[in-house]
Symmetry: C2
Subunit: 235 residues, 2 copies
DNA sequence: TCCACTTCGCAAACACTGTTCGCAATATAG
DNA sequence: CTATATTGCGAACAGTGTTTGCGAAGTGGA
């Protein structure tokens, strides 16, 4: 019996009380998977490959994990242990931006993480600790509970999104998109886009290309202040 | 020769000038793939499956598309044709929120779209048209070109993210995460989280559960105003 | 000490997947 | 009518996640 489904992996006991003791552990398997993913990307993390890295057979992994998706959840949460939580300074925005800086660093160390955060947000022990710290930072902020939790979700997603574009997906993809953009502009349609790129392309001193780290910080600041402020008035 | 790589699929000619004329078209293949994805999800879109829907063999598809990823890009851009662009009213936020409403509708019609938008943002003809309209709406807005394009990217991503959580990924996933959250709170740690959920859970009349459509609209409005306003002052 | 009992390890098999190859069929241009 | 160019596609290749079945390896109780 492969443990009750519909429960996240963190709610299923790791080791059994009786019987032959396991030769590995979830932590060990997760670490092996992370090593592979760091070096060769997420798609290299196959059950056979991870098992081989541990010197065992693929089928053995299913004693520790229900399926590959469980393993991905474990990886996603595991790197959350790399956060270092400092006591809040009193200025929540500054503190959250510092947290964002750490997120950026972690996402850079593990280029596969952005994909997992965007496609299967999982809440494991480390994710919970991060959320708790996020809320601690906002403890005296007047926003509603729902708003704070939404802010957390968007904080994660924004970081992931930004780093995904800056990293692997970016290099090839971005300049292929740019190639098509140029061709499309050459046809004369897309007036506004043409205007904008013409105005931006020349060496406008006030419009110099910014450091990605600065752009990330600026966008994160804008989004967080937008989310955690009095509601905008709409019709 | 499979056409020059490093170019997006929209820059590669579809039909050849000479030789036996093709029996299908990219549009036809894309439509078949979308039908399958709408009914059975993205993972059901295999080359064999799409080919079978067209009454042909899997290998034939490679005459129209370099690989499966190309097909996904085509799908992603194709549904962009469902947007209906109205002339700007003069209030850019209202107009962009209306665009967001359309995005929401499209994402609901095609539950697989969120995943593609988040993981492989592609800029095809329809994506370009959307971007052009987005910029047209912001034509008289004083923000920089870079800021407007960033706003567009985040507009797409936010819509996708929100709808992904509301749709497929949500049902099972959300209540599994919730199950773990409850268990974790029962241990006594996670002080802030506990406080927040206690305060929010009782039938607080001012804090009633909002319609997802309203939440989406509110979040989108906050993010867009945050991104397209004078910069917040930081240290 | 022995033995049921429980769990682990894992080779082999299954049902898939994306993609390539090679060749026959089919159209067009000259 | 003849090159020539392109399409259609069965078959094969190298992988994938996962299940099954059974032997090996420990543990708790008698």
């Amino acid at each position: 019996m492969p443990a009750e489904s519909s429960h996240p992996i963190w709610m299923r006991l790791e080791a059994a009380a009786a019987g032959r003791p396991p030769g590995h552990s979830r932590a060990e398997i997760t670490a092996a998977a992370i090593t592979i993913a760091d070096r060769e990307g997420l798609e290299a993390v196959s059950m056979r490959r991870v098992a081989a890295a541990l010197g065992t057979g693929a089928a053995s992994l299913y004693r520790y994990v229900d399926n590959r998706e469980d393993l991905l959840d474990l990886m996603s949460d595991a790197v959350g242990a790399e956060y270092v939580y400092r006591a809040p300074t009193g200025d929540w925005l500054t503190d959250l931006l510092e947290l964002g800086e750490q997120a950026r660093a972690i996402l850079r160390r593990h280029p596969w993480l952005a994909f997992l955060l965007l496609t299967r947000p999982a809440l494991g022990p480390n994710g919970l600790a991060l959320l708790e710290h996020f809320l601690e930072t906002l403890a005296s902020h007047p926003a509603s509970a729902a708003a704070k939790i939404e802010a957390f979700a968007i904080f994660s997603a924004t970081s992931a999104l930004f780093m995904q574009n800056e990293l692997s997906g970016g290099a090839g993809r971005q300049h292929r998109n740019a190639a098509y953009l140029r061709q499309a502009l050459a046809t004369g349609s897309h007036r506004r886009l043409g205007e904008l790129l013409e105005a931006g392309a020349p060496a406008d001193p006030s419009q110099h290309v910014r450091d990605p780290a600065d752009r990330y910080r600026d966008i994160l600041a804008r989004i967080l202040t937008g989310l955690l402020s009095p509601p905008p008035d709409l019709g």
